[in-house]
Symmetry: C2
DNA sequence: AAAAACCGGTTGTCCTATGCAAGCGGTTTT
DNA sequence: AAAACCGCTTGCATAGGACAACCGGTTTTT
């Protein structure tokens, strides 16, 4: 059933849209990537957009079937499942980064969330690659490469930037900015 | 109504998904970009995936309202409308390019469509920028920059690559390839 | 030991979005 | 004068998403 060739077309963009071209899949992946949400309830409750539990369950199942996330039992809790990104999932980062860039420039992004988008934009593909290495460490258990890193990890820098703005007044919205 | 702030969240990725996060919008944009489809019937009939006319009409309306495409009367035909990409629309190219990359690597892309994806991948952001300049010329009427170009335009190269493979046997499908 | 909270989901219901085929009034081509 | 073409619209059936309530089991708190 799943291995059927019932695709609308063999175009790479279309095939990608058939997998993640809906309103929720990429948000789940975003939360796993940038928010390090690894449990069902975490993804459910801390979702900025308020995903419904049946939708989340369905998306996790589909992403699992597509080999984009993996699922493992949490040894510390018999009922807990740990969701991880696979290499295939990690490699969606450039797609998310470009969407983030475009949204930052053209849509009314809230200030507290814009800061991370700017960091990602300024860092460019080099920063993305560094972050992907970190994701391979946290999600795949791959040891980090030698890394002659100047300071914190990318994850820490993103977190710090977000925390910094959140100490100030919340919900300061801005329109799309010009590069 | 349309200017309401009724967004699920101010996250740039979410906002982008609210605009183009469905199964058709980006395909319409893709066809306008890479296929130079500018008329309704063209987008309808030459759609690789077979979009329905009501969906196409709805998407064009929404993309117009979002400022991603513009609409003009065709002087040669009273009933014809010419759809063009705006700057905002043209700047979706990097998003499409990354999706193309990801699909090429991880999904069963058909060989005849893979060739263009590879060209886009090999060219990288530099080629994307060049193509975006061409799009500004054809869609916005902006004259092309000086351009010290080595050979054909990007559009011509993409077209030539596609034509080359289409002279051979059709529907030769391949699985995802490794970078 | 009992109660409460938490675990990953499932079920049912309602509503919207999508898919499909047919058709519309008008314009242009044959 | 007929046929083809123009950008859509309409009606209908199905698929997907939103919402709330709930499930059996596990762990933590009292």
């Amino acid at each position: 059933m799943r291995t059927n060739n019932d695709h609308r077309s063999g175009c790479p963009i279309n095939l990608t849209l058939e997998v993640v071209g809906d309103r929720w899949s990429l948000l789940v992946i975003r939360d796993m990537m940038f928010g390090n949400r690894r449990h069902f309830r975490e993804l459910l409750a801390k979702s900025e957009e308020g995903i419904a539990s049946n939708i989340l369950a369905d998306r996790l199942k589909r992403l699992f079937e597509q080999g984009i996330v993996s699922r493992a039992d949490d040894p510390s809790h018999k009922q807990k499942a740990i969701y991880s990104l696979t290499e295939k999932g990690i490699e969606l980062l450039p797609v998310l980064a470009q969407m983030s860039n475009w949204g930052l420039k053209h849509l009314p992004v809230s200030e507290e969330l814009a800061i991370r988008a700017r960091l990602l934009r300024e860092g460019g593909p080099k920063l993305w690659a560094e972050f992907m290495h970190e994701l391979r460490a946290t999600h795949l258990g791959v040891p980090l490469p030698p890394r002659r890193r100047p300071g914190q990890s990318v994850a820490e820098r993103l977190e710090a930037a977000y925390a910094a703005i959140m100490t100030q007044q919340p919900s300061n919205r801005a329109g799309g900015e010009q590069a």
